[in-house]
C-alpha cells in the first residue's frame, strides 16, 4: 500500500481526503438553493420569521392526531 492509503509520515489518507471533500460540500450547502432561497431559509431559522416557522410546525402537529401527543388511544 502506498502513503496515500495509510496515515504515515504525515500523509493524509484517501479516506480523510474524501471526508474533507464531503465536509466542504456540506459547508457549501445544497447547490439547488438560489441566494434568495438561502435568505428565506435564514429568516425562518434565525431571523424575523422564526416565530412564524415554529407556529407552522406546531400547527401541523396540532392538526394531526397521529403526530401530536393528544391522540386519544381509543380513537
Amino acid at each position: 500500500m502506498t502513503g496515500g492509503w495509510l496515515r504515515n509520515n504525515g500523509h493524509v489518507t484517501i479516506g480523510e481526503e474524501l471526508d474533507e471533500e464531503r465536509r466542504r460540500r456540506r459547508r457549501a450547502g445544497d447547490p439547488r438553493l438560489t441566494p434568495s432561497d438561502r435568505e428565506l431559509l435564514r429568516r425562518l431559522t434565525d431571523g424575523d420569521l422564526k416565530e412564524e416557522f415554529q407556529a407552522a410546525l406546531d400547527a401541523v402537529s396540532d392538526r394531526d392526531p397521529l403526530l401530536s401527543d393528544t391522540a386519544d388511544p381509543d380513537d
Binding site: 439547488r32 434568495s36 410546525l57 402537529s61 397521529l66 403526530l67 391522540a71
Partner: protein
Amino acid sequence: MIVVDEYLALQAFRGDLPPGVPEDELLLPTSRHWRILQALHAGRGGQLSRLLSQLSETGRAAVRFPHPEMLQVLDPRPLLDDAAALAARFGNTGWLVAETLAAGRRYGSSLWFGEAANVGRLLRAAARELGVRIHVAAP
C-alpha cells in the same frame, strides 16, 4: 451521525450550521420532514406557506428531496417497534415525539435542536428519563 430537528435541517441546506454542531452526517426523523413538507405544500392560508411558495423550483426540490450529503431522512421502519414501546411508556406521546426519541436512542443517545421552543416539554422529560441528551445549538 446525529439526529437533528427542522431548524438544523434548514440550516444544513444552506450549509450554515450553528457553532457546536458536530460536522457529521445529519439525520432527520420522518415525522419532522413531514412537518416541513406540510408547511411547504399547504396551499392556503398562513404567511409561512405564502413565503415558502417564494422558493425557487430547485429550492423546493432541495427541501422536498434532501441530498443525502446535506441531510438524510431516516427510514422509520427500523425505529417503529421502539417508538411504539416509547409511546406507550410515556402515555401515547404521538409519532413525532416517539420517533424522535427512538432515533435519539439509536444514534448516539443524543438529539440536536436549533431552537429550544422546538423541543417540547414531553420530549424533554422523556429524554431525561431515557438518558438521551438534548443539545440546543443556537445560531
